[in-house]
C-alpha cells in the first residue's frame, strides 16, 4: 500500500500575529507566539465549511497529479466539523467531485490523530480487496469553534484541508501501524454543546486549574493535560512503531509528527532523543491545522527535498479523543 499523491488547500484569509497583538494589547504575545511557533494562520471564510475545503483540496490533487475522479473507489473524510449531523459529508463530496456511485464513502470523527487513522483504514480497505484507490481527505475549521477572547487557542489553530490518494502503487510505502486510545481524557479537548449529549447552548463559563476559561459552547483545551498525555504516550508509541516495522531507530531518516505547537514538539523531541535535523517543526504559516498537519508537512518536505526517495519517515499523530497512532513511510 502506497501514498500516490498529496495536495492541500489553505483558505485565503489569514490572521497574523500583528493582528492578534492589536486585539490583545495586554498580552505578551511575542513570548507566547515564539513558543507556539506560529506567525500566521489561515481562517476559513464565514460561509466556507470543512467540506468545501476538502473539495478544493481534492480538486487540487486531481489537477496536480492528473488523476481522474473516476478511478477513486473509496472516500474517507476526517473531520470534526461536518456540514450536517447527517448525512456524511463524504457522500456529498463523492457527488461533487464526480467520483463514481460505485465508490464507498464515509466520514470519521478524529482530530490530530486522524491522518494516521485514515491511512490505517485505507490500507485495511485495500488489503482486504474492498477498494483500490482510496481518497483520504482531512479538513478542519476549528477557528469557528474558538471564542473570540480565547487568545491561546486562537494563536495555535488554523484552518486547512488536505487530500491524499492511497493506492496499490505510489511514492511512499505505508508500513505497519500502532494505534491507541485513552478515552478517560475525552474532556481535556472538547466542545460540549450542540450535539446530542447537550443540544442547547449553556453559556456556562468556568476557570480551570491553569487559570484558563473553560466555556461549554466553545472549544476547550486543557493544555497541561494534553501536554502530559503527549509526553506520556509518544515515547512508547515510537518504540512500538519501530518494533512493529522491524526497524531500528538509527534507520529512521526523518520524524514528522502532528504539528501541535512548537514548544510541545521540541519537548517531545528532547525526551525521545531525536536529533534536531531529523525532526520536523514548521507551523509558521499554517498554525495547527489538526488532522491536516502531517499531510501538509509531508507535501512541503517532499517539495523542499527534505524528504527524498529511499528515506524512512516515521509519522505520528496524537490529540483529541484522546487518540494516537503512528507508522513508518518508506519513500
Amino acid at each position: 500500500m502506497f501514498i500516490k499523491a498529496i495536495s492541500y488547500y489553505l483558505p485565503s484569509q489569514t490572521l497574523t500575529n500583528e493582528e492578534l497583538i492589536k486585539q490583545f494589547p495586554e498580552w505578551s504575545v511575542e513570548k507566547v507566539v515564539k513558543k507556539v511557533g506560529v506567525n500566521e494562520r489561515h481562517i476559513a471564510a464565514a460561509d466556507e465549511t470543512a467540506g468545501d475545503m476538502a473539495f478544493k483540496a481534492a480538486q487540487k490533487l486531481f489537477a496536480e497529479y492528473n488523476i481522474s475522479p473516476e478511478t477513486i473507489d473509496f472516500v474517507l473524510f476526517c473531520t470534526q466539523s461536518p456540514d450536517y449531523f447527517l448525512p456524511s459529508s463524504a457522500c456529498i463530496l463523492q457527488h461533487k467531485l464526480g467520483i463514481p456511485t460505485s465508490a464507498g464513502a464515509f466520514d470519521y470523527d478524529l482530530g490530530c490523530s486522524g491522518c494516521v487513522y485514515g491511512m490505517a483504514v485505507a490500507k485495511g480497505l485495500i488489503t482486504a480487496g474492498i477498494a483500490k484507490n482510496v481518497l483520504l481527505l482531512t479538513a478542519e475549521t476549528y477557528t469557528k469553534y474558538l471564542h473570540p477572547q480565547d487568545k491561546g487557542n486562537r494563536s495555535i489553530f488554523g484552518d486547512g484541508a488536505a487530500a491524499c490518494l492511497i493506492s496499490t502503487e505510489g511514492f511512499a510505502e505505508i508500513g505497519g501501524f500502532v494505534l491507541g486510545t485513552n478515552g478517560s481524557g475525552y474532556d481535556n479537548l472538547i466542545l460540549k454543546t450542540g450535539a446530542a449529549r447537550q443540544k442547547n447552548l449553556t453559556g456556562i463559563e468556568s476557570t480551570d486549574e491553569n487559570g484558563n476559561i473553560r466555556r461549554d459552547d466553545y472549544l476547550y483545551m486543557n493544555g497541561g493535560e494534553i501536554f502530559n498525555f503527549t509526553v506520556d504516550v509518544v515515547p512508547n508509541l515510537l518504540v512500538n512503531v519501530l518494533e512493529k516495522n522491524n526497524i531500528t531507530k538509527d534507520r529512521i531518516d526523518y520524524y514528522l509528527f502532528h504539528q501541535a505547537n512548537k514548544y510541545m514538539l521540541s519537548t517531545i523531541r528532547k525526551i525521545c532523543n531525536i536529533p534536531q535535523e531529523k525532526f520536523y517543526i514548521n507551523l509558521e504559516k499554517t498554525g495547527n491545522t489538526v488532522s491536516s498537519t502531517i499531510l501538509i508537512g509531508l507535501r512541503d518536505c517532499i517539495d523542499s527535498k527534505i524528504i527524498t526517495s529511499g528515506m524512512n519517515v516515521l509519522i505520528a499523530g496524537f490529540g483529541v479523543g484522546l487518540s494516537y497512532g503512528g507508522t513508518v513511510l518508506k519513500m
Partner: protein, 75 residues
C-alpha cells in the same frame, strides 16, 4: 541524584536561555523564557529522565533550581 546533571537537564528545556544562566540558586520563575509551558516541560523531563512524577503545583512552590532538585530527589 547529581545536581550538575540536573542543572544540565533543566537547562535543556530552554531554547534561548544559555545553560550558563542556570545555576542552583537561579530563581527560574524570573527567567525571560520561563512560561507555563516550561513547567510542563519540566514535568515531562523529570518523568522521562528520573522516572518521578511532579505537578505544576509542586513547581509553583519552588523558588530556585535547587528547590526543584530537592523536590525531585525527595519524591
Amino acid at each position: 541524584m547529581d545536581l550538575e546533571k540536573f542543572l544540565a537537564d533543566f537547562a535543556d528545556i530552554f531554547d534561548e536561555t544559555d545553560a550558563s544562566e542556570i545555576k542552583a540558586d537561579t530563581q527560574f520563575h524570573y527567567l525571560d523564557e520561563w512560561s507555563s509551558m516550561s513547567g510542563m516541560a519540566v514535568i515531562a523531563i523529570v518523568k522521562s529522565i528520573y522516572g518521578k512524577e511532579i505537578t505544576g503545583e509542586d513547581i509553583k512552590k519552588c523558588d530556585t533550581v535547587n528547590d526543584l532538585f530537592e523536590l525531585v530527589k525527595n519524591k
